[in-house]
Symmetry: C2
Subunit: 156 residues, 2 copies
Amino acid sequence: MNIELALYQPDIPQNTGTILRLGACLNVPVHIIHPTGFHFSDKLFRRSAMDYAQNVQMHEHDSFQKFDLWRKQRNKRLVLMTTKTQKSVYEFEFNPGDILLAGRESAGVPTQVASICDALVRLPMAPRLRSLNVSLATAMILGEALRQTDGFGPLS
Amino acid sequence: MNIELALYQPDIPQNTGTILRLGACLNVPVHIIHPTGFHFSDKLFRRSAMDYAQNVQMHEHDSFQKFDLWRKQRNKRLVLMTTKTQKSVYEFEFNPGDILLAGRESAGVPTQVASICDALVRLPMAPRLRSLNVSLATAMILGEALRQTDGFGPLS
């Protein structure tokens, strides 16, 4: 069991494409929770995902409720990446099989969704007016989760 | 002394803007080694850097030779991020003050530049036809370097 990623109703096609590429390169499955704010035929999406979308384990879920049921049936923890917590990813203990959930770029996740998550984690940054973009923050947190769980592939 | 980033003759404005934003958010200085493949007035650069370019410690160097002299006078190690090594960042011991060098998106760095670097490191990915984009790989490696050197800012 490896770490997995999930995107909650993503609305920026380039970020979604970039994260699918990240999943393909690191062999990490990516869950897309619909509705998305763009079509997969979007030019910006296809340009950022390039040909990686064919190589990633991508799973689409019609709604958060269906996604949540899916992961609970598999006893997978849902770990929300958010700035609305004081828990640093570097102080959090990831388990193999954990799903890292990224909120919408524009609005995060609704309070109700956050309350369903098993844990909330963030990068340790001093608060600023603005923050890292979602794909970079996701990559950094995924890297720490893979490091802790020995989830990186071997170097040949 | 904190970790620093350096970009060798970057040629994709969006990546440079994204990395400047990364530096601003994490309080990590960013060195730009000229010539760049675009002008800082480029619309794509300004859009990706947003207003972060004003908040990052950015240092411009006319040439790699001048940059290299600058860092050697300060006894700073130069650590090249490259796929042309078998050394994983997770097996490498970063020191405070290390400068992480990213190559051109299109062509990496010349052999001569690589040979001057104190170390070469990479993310542990199985070899594939293609790879992570430079800004995501840089963010992941920077995260590991900051974790090891206790270089993240405090959570307020």
